[in-house]
């Protein structure tokens, strides 16, 4: 507690717009008296603390561009965060979020949203989640999604989509409508087939990354992946695959069991 206070006082004296409060054993924002009045700060990093909640008043920091709350114990977020006018990067890696507040997708300028290693599932996302058109990177790795809604196509500026180690059974074809996507991580899910629209993506370029390991791909897809991502992309665009895919639509391959043991995730601890 005194550690954090000292840092705050020093920061106030220096008028430093970047506030580092990492690993200070902070359990609640009440220990950070005066922080919410330091409206000049542009970055607030509170990683590796013991925060369980975030006060709505944090949104008073109207100049904040980067908010990093990695590795805390946060179970709930205030809706007010999504009204922060300059917030561009919000990092909530390794927390205990089961849900996001209704209306959470209202961020005006959010570019990077990192929700890695939480407990989010299909029903956790508010209706306007995919309205965040300014989003460049969306990190949803290590959560419990089984499906993503077709609304994802609204994220026109999305360049990075991480879905590593969820429970995804299938991907929406609308991912193929994301013109700027250059990183797609779907390792460690329960995927068997890919929508042909994925072939629209420029995943074979040297500026792109497609991570696909740890899924139960049907043999034709597994064979192409063996040859390389460019072979897969050509194949997804082929008439052969189109026919095969429509056959799979009526006669779906069996859904593989979850391949990741999530029970040991610290985010599950209640």
């Amino acid at each position: 507690m005194s550690k954090a206070k000292k840092v705050l006082e020093e920061a106030r004296e220096l008028q430093n717009p970047e506030m580092d409060l990492c690993d200070r054993g902070i359990g609640t924002f009440e220990e950070l008296s005066g922080l919410l009045n330091m409206t000049y700060i542009t970055r607030l990093t509170l990683s590796h603390n013991k925060l369980k909640s975030v006060p709505p008043g944090l949104a008073n920091l109207t100049n904040l561009e980067i908010l990093n709350l990695s590795n805390n114990l946060i179970e709930e977020l205030p809706l007010s965060l999504s009204s922060m006018p300059k917030l561009r990067i919000l990092t909530l890696t390794i927390n205990r979020l089961y849900n996001l507040p209704r209306g959470f997708g209202a961020f005006p300028v959010l570019e990077v949203l990192d929700l890695t290693y939480n407990n989010l599932k299909d029903s956790s996302l508010p209706g306007n989640f995919f309205m965040m058109e300014t989003l460049r990177a969306l990190y949803l790795g290590d959560n419990d999604f089984e499906r993503l809604p077709p609304d994802i196509k609204n994220l026109k500026n999305l360049q990075i989509l991480v879905l590593r180690e969820n429970d995804l059974i299938e991907l929406p074809g609308e991912i193929g409508d994301l013109p700027r996507l250059r990183e797609l991580h779907v390792q460690g899910n329960r995927l068997t087939i890919l929508p042909p629209e994925i072939g629209n993506l420029d995943m074979a370029s040297n500026k792109s990354v497609f991570k696909f390991e740890g899924n139960e791909w049907v043999p034709p897809i597994a064979d192409q992946l063996q040859l390389g991502v460019s072979h897969l992309m050509d194949y997804l665009r082929s008439e052969t695959y189109r026919v095969l895919y429509s056959r799979y639509q009526t006669n779906k391959p069996p859904v593989p069991p979850p391949c990741v043991d999530k029970a040991k995730k610290v985010s599950r601890i209640r």
């Binding site: 580092d20 690993d23 990695s70 990190y139 500026k207």
Partner: protein, 340 residues
């Protein structure tokens, strides 16, 4: 006065014929002159002045009498005031004298005046042009080389002649010229265009830039012609990004070259950190978990292609680290910058 030379010959019945001059008949075998329907004794068909036969039968008639060419000229025909010869045919009466049309010429430039008219100027016959010049000179003015009238305002000098400026338009912008126009490489330009030549010529349309000049890529541009090399939309003052002599809008620069900082999303001006399929500016290359700055030498771990410093990685839940390690082993080893 239009003389008609008329050589005569006859073939009529002689008893009824009489000489138009003396009224006598003709002897048989006598030569009869027939001219304009009348008959003469040969000795009667002569010049009324010198009584000689008409040379080649050519005579001139005046007031009912016939004259030889010489006497006709002497008695009646005018003399050209220039060459002194008789004037047969068209006579130009001007300046109190007679002239052959080809002899009545401008006293300054010698152009024929018969059909164009002339102006009396100080006892001389002058063409309009020369008259204007003389008059202008007297007034200290010029005459337009195109329309030959006096240039009351400032003249335009072009290829060694003077003109009314309004006969010309600017080669670049087409505006009607005034006396401030400038000649350049045998072409005329308005002052504005000329002043801008040599310096701000638009790098896109090659025309002079008359309004706001954008200077970029070592060239000048019309505001509306400085545009993204990919989508061709003008920047209109918005930020642009340069690469290999071309300018791009943010979207296309990023799309084509991908050199925006992952954190600030701005084009990286100075040193670039490139790793994990991303780039960072010097200020923003930091651990994605604790935001601590890193440098080239900092060893870092990778999670979803984000950099994680060693301290943070060690704070990750053990089971998470185990899974990340397993994944790295599954993927082909390629990230040299990632210690394991």
């Amino acid at each position: 006065m239009s003389p008609t030379p008329m050589p005569g010959l006859t073939n009529m019945s002689r008893e009824h014929m009489i000489c138009s001059k003396c009224g006598e008949g003709f002897e048989p075998q006598e030569k009869i002159v027939n001219s304009t329907g009348q008959l003469w004794h040969q000795q009667c068909f002569v010049c009324a002045q010198c009584f000689r036969e008409f040379r080649d039968g050519v005579f001139y008639e005046f007031d009912g009498r016939k004259y030889c060419e010489h006497d006709f000229h002497v008695l009646f025909a005018p003399c050209c005031n220039r060459c002194g010869e008789f004037i047969i045919g068209r006579v130009i009466k001007a300046m109190n004298a007679s002239w052959h049309p080809s002899c009545f010429r401008c006293e300054m430039c010698s152009i024929e005046l018969a059909d164009t008219g002339f102006i009396k100027n100080g006892g001389r016959a002058l063409c309009h042009e020369c008259n204007a010049k003389v008059k202008a000179r007297g007034l200290g003015k010029y005459v337009c080389h195109k329309c030959h009238s006096i240039i009351d305002d400032q003249p335009l000098k072009f290829r060694g002649e003077v003109y009314h400026p309004y006969h010309f338009t600017c080669t670049a912008c087409g505006v009607e010229l005034d006396a401030n126009a400038r000649e350049d490489m045998n072409e005329l330009y308005c002052l504005r265009c000329h002043d801008k030549m040599g310096i701000p010529i638009c790098g896109a349309c090659r025309r002079p830039i008359e309004e706001r000049v954008v200077t970029a890529l070592g060239k000048h541009w019309h505001v509306e012609h400085f545009a993204c090399a990919k989508c061709e939309k003008p920047f209109f003052g918005h930020r642009h990004y340069e690469k290999k002599g071309l300018a791009y809008c943010e979207t296309h620069y990023h799309q084509l070259f991908g050199n925006l900082c992952f954190v600030c999303n701005q084009v990286i001006a100075g040193d670039v950190f490139t790793a994990l399929n991303k780039a960072w500016c010097v200020n923003h290359f930091a651990c994605s978990v604790c935001d601590q700055k890193m440098n080239q030498k900092t060893k870092f771990y990778e999670c979803d292609l984000k950099p994680v410093c060693k301290k943070c990685y060690e704070k990750f839940p053990a089971e998470f680290r185990r899974r990340l390690r397993r994944q790295h082993e599954a993927a082909t080893p390629k990230k040299a910058s990632t210690p394991t």
